[in-house]
């Protein structure tokens, strides 16, 4: 899995590309989050548009990072989830945990609103 980091109006957007499973990728992803928190960046959008699929270990990684961000007083939201991924989030009730937005603007705006 490849991860690209961008910043949009003070919000960090992580573009994921590939498949979200356990293994070595998981560690990279975790360390990236720890780094962001250390820098005080805790409004995070995870872009799943180019993630073809995810397994339950991959969900675990997302949840781990979600918990890290929340403990630091921030939030993690997802965008670009395919129908396939949406239905996994629904079945596991993770749609109740992290918000899923259709597009980047809405996701970034959700943080701006929180700040006001």
């Amino acid at each position: 899995m490849k991860i690209t980091q961008r910043e949009v109006q003070g919000t960090v957007v992580l573009d994921l590309n590939g498949k979200l499973t356990g293994g070595p990728d998981a560690d990279t992803f975790r360390k990236l989050f720890d780094g962001l928190i250390a820098e005080g960046k805790k409004q995070i959008v995870v872009n799943l548009e180019k993630v073809s699929w995810i397994n339950s270990t991959g969900l675990g990684i997302l949840i781990h990072n979600y918990s890290t961000v929340r403990s630091a007083g921030g939030d993690l939201v997802v965008i670009g989830a395919s129908d396939r991924i949406e239905s996994i989030l629904y079945v596991t009730k993770l749609n109740l945990l992290f918000k899923s937005f259709e597009n980047e603007e809405d996701a970034v705006r959700s943080f701006t609103h929180t700040r006001q």
């Binding site: 397994n55 339950s56 270990t57 990684i61 079945v91 596991t92």
Partner: protein, 146 residues
């Protein structure tokens, strides 16, 4: 055209490495589409099968490079059965099947069986020199979740 009563079987054998899961997913998706499953059913089957293979690689074979996972896909009478077999010691699947999933929404594990159940029309385990996880998907089965 699919003839009734004709058994169609395809087998895949992969190393205990998550990197092969995409190939398994791609193969089962193409096959199920060819067998006229709906796109939703195709996605569901891929999702459940990836889960079964992840468990076989992780819990069954413990990522051992000497152990392999075998996936058999059989189609008959409108039903696709996918059997995933590993070379591990198995587990108390009777117990696991009857347990409620962990209610803690931030728990990082324990959603595999829930997912396999939700996205198929049947899930069963058996032991035969390795754990066998069998998933059943009906072509004209229940609509997929959501």
């Amino acid at each position: 055209m699919v003839k009734t009563n004709q058994v169609e079987q395809m087998t895949l054998t992969i190393p205990s490495d998550l990197k092969y899961l995409g190939a398994v997913d791609a193969a089962v998706q193409d096959l199920a589409r060819e067998l006229l499953f709906s796109q939703d059913a195709v996605n569901d089957l891929g999702t459940a099968l990836i889960e079964a293979c992840s468990n076989a690689i992780e819990h069954g074979n413990k990522f051992s490079p000497d152990k392999r996972v075998t996936i058999s896909l059989r189609f008959q009478d409108g039903t696709l059965k996918a059997a995933v077999k590993d070379e591990g010691r198995g587990f108390d699947f009777e117990k696991a099947m009857n347990e409620d999933p962990d209610p803690d929404p931030t728990s990082e594990r324990g959603r595999g069986i829930l997912i396999m159940r939700a996205f198929t029309d049947g899930l069963s385990f058996s032991y035969d020199g390795g754990l066998v996880c069998e998933l059943t998907k009906l072509r004209d089965g229940s609509p997929s979740p959501e």
